[in-house]
């Protein structure tokens, strides 16, 4: 089970002080938070991507590359990579380089993005969101897997004799998750390829999340990737913890009440009752988080949103300390009753090992930068 955090990268005034952090502060805070995540033993740090204020992460691989240099173990991921408005060729290039620099500690989560004007800024139309996600990702897969690509589609200039440089590390592309809150087509896409499916699990009630995950699992089996319970599922979630629950509620409420997206809406109590948000003692957060398994089955990745809505860095780091304290119990809880055939989320190492098993006598793909092949790396 992978446990980690994901961040939107919003620059929001702290409602309790009225102070707005600078872009510089928030960018450096992202690095501090990622390093802290590794320090407390988390498995994943995932960075969002936005191309409009009040968000800073317009260049996720620059940020993740910098973090890669300052960490050793944590997997760097995205939440999400805009497969609709980015050129798939550029995504392939950027994340190939990142994968090499991070020694394979990289995977991606594809998303469409829901900000209307961002699409035309990049020459696209939000109404083509699903079609863009389908076509662009189909191309991205080929760029990472085929040496020479001839391609023609609806949205991008055709490619003739294109070879991606650099090739993916060890000839093995990063693992890909597909994130969607409500589009069944995206669950179907993830299932078709046998990729991971991630539900943000923040804005909607758990019964909806369950529906999406169920659909993905059924279609994963339908497309022949294995039994439904072996599909690769990730969930989001959010919490705010203090030693005693009244303190947590009192401290978080002013942030919740005016938070971007769901602020000025339901009360904190209603939101806690109807969505996966937990605000309370470490024990309460632990119990609510572990209850997700009963809704979606045994899953592979749990990411928490902890640094949004103007929460100061100091508070975020305290939240991570508390998360670190319940981490052993979380892991123990997830392991409990987990059948042996439930796979872990693929990592670079596991994908390399699988590539070797699946291509025992085929041509050895050589990584033309490192000169290594999956065979050599395995040996």
């Amino acid at each position: 089970m992978q446990i980690g955090i994901f961040t939107v990268g919003d620059i929001t005034p702290d409602p309790t002080t009225g102070r707005t952090p600078s872009e510089h502060e928030r960018i450096k805070a992202a690095v501090t938070i990622a390093r802290k995540a590794e320090e407390i033993g988390l498995d994943v740090f995932a960075q969002g991507e936005h191309h409009n204020p009040p968000f800073h992460p317009s260049s996720p691989t620059t940020l993740l590359g910098f973090i890669a240099a300052q960490t050793e173990r944590i997997i760097l991921s995205t939440a999400t990579t805009l497969i609709t408005t980015n050129d798939p060729v550029k995504i392939a290039e950027d994340y190939s380089v990142l994968q090499h620099l991070a020694e394979g500690r990289v995977d991606l989560m594809m998303g469409r993005g829901n900000t209307g004007p961002v699409y035309p800024w990049f020459g696209r139309d939000i109404r083509d969101g699903i079609a863009l996600a389908v076509e662009n990702y189909a191309l991205l897969r080929r760029l990472w897997r085929e040496d020479v690509v001839d391609w023609e589609g609806k949205f991008r200039t055709p490619l003739n004799g294109f070879t991606l440089a650099p090739r993916p590390l060890d000839g093995v592309p990063p693992f890909v998750w597909h994130g969607s809150i409500r589009a069944p087509e995206i669950a179907e896409q993830a299932a078709f390829y046998g990729d991971g499916f991630f539900h943000n699990n923040i804005f909607w009630n758990m019964s909806h999340t369950r529906k999406m995950v169920h659909l993905y699992r059924q279609r994963f089996a339908h497309h022949g990737h294995g039994p439904a319970d072996t599909a690769i599922v990730g969930l989001g979630g959010q919490f705010f913890m203090r030693r005693n629950s009244q303190d947590a509620v009192a401290e978080f409420r002013p942030y919740f009440d005016v938070a971007p997206v769901y602020g000025y809406g339901p009360s904190l109590e209603q939101f806690m009752a109807e969505t996966p948000l937990s605000v309370g003692s470490p024990q309460q957060v632990l119990e609510k988080t572990l209850s997700f398994t009963s809704q979606v089955g045994h899953y592979q990745r749990q990411l928490f949103l902890i640094d949004h809505a103007g929460l100061p860095l100091k508070t975020v780091l305290e939240q991570l300390d508390l998360l670190g304290e319940i981490l052993p119990d979380l892991r123990k809880g997830y392991a409990e009753g987990r059948p042996a055939h439930i796979p872990d989320a693929p990592t670079h190492a596991s994908l390399v090992a699988a590539a070797v098993t699946h291509r025992p006598s085929g041509p050895t793909l050589v990584d033309d930068v490192t000169g290594r092949s999956p065979m050599q790396r395995q040996a």
Binding site: I130, V134, N205, K211, V261, G263, G265, E274, T275
Partner: protein
């Protein structure tokens, strides 16, 4: 089970808007029974009880349990009777909010009877000039006969509000009886296969 859903946006309790909706619902039921349809039930939704839920959903995208149930009821209704009070020469904001937040396509092909209440008869064209364009946009199958009730209509015998309610109810019953129930397509049951998605 055939359900006629009455959605009213009255503010008060009791409310003439709610009363008009109830009378229209009963008239429709009587018409359906006459046509031999038994076991038809009437369900009433007063939007004032969902006002906070609707506003919350608008700004937070989190639908409350109560709201989800009502949206589901719309998707299962054989007919919808929609009644609003007139505010500033149009439907009320609460009325609009409900239909703004209703999932796309949920009213398409569904029989709808429109009605409104107002202080004076001078507002009676609100059904044709304000309500009709919205329901046509939503592709509802709107009964051409709407019912407008001004305050005075509830007293004056010469206006024969009851007769108009009876007429509209009878005609709406015919429309409902002649229209197969449009069930919303469950995107989770009817998945577009990825091969089709790839073909674009």
């Amino acid at each position: 089970m055939t359900t006629i859903l009455v959605i009213t946006a009255g503010m008060g309790q009791p409310s003439s808007t709610q009363l008009l909706g109830q009378r229209l619902g009963e008239a429709t039921l009587a018409g359906l029974r006459e046509a031999g349809q038994q076991g038809v039930q009437l369900r009433h939704v007063e939007l004032r009880t969902l006002a906070a839920d609707l506003a919350s959903y608008l700004v937070s995208r989190v639908p409350s349990q109560a709201l989800r149930e009502v949206f589901e009821a719309v998707g299962e209704a054989s007919g919808v009777i929609a009644v609003t009070p007139v505010f500033n020469a149009s439907f009320s904001g609460l009325f609009k909010l409900f239909f703004d937040l209703l999932e796309e396509g949920l009213l398409a092909g569904r029989p709808v009877l429109l009605a409104a209440t107002g202080g004076t008869q001078r507002h009676s064209l609100v059904i044709d000039h304000a309500m009709l364009p919205m329901f046509h946009y939503l592709k509802a199958r709107v009964l051409p006969l709407g019912v407008f009730a001004a305050t005075k209509d509830w007293g004056g015998s010469e206006t024969r509000l009851s007769r108009r309610i009876g007429q509209a109810g009878a005609q709406f019953a015919e429309l409902v009886a002649a229209t197969p129930v449009v069930r919303p397509v469950d995107a989770f049951e009817h998945v577009t296969s990825f091969e089709d998605l790839l073909r674009g």
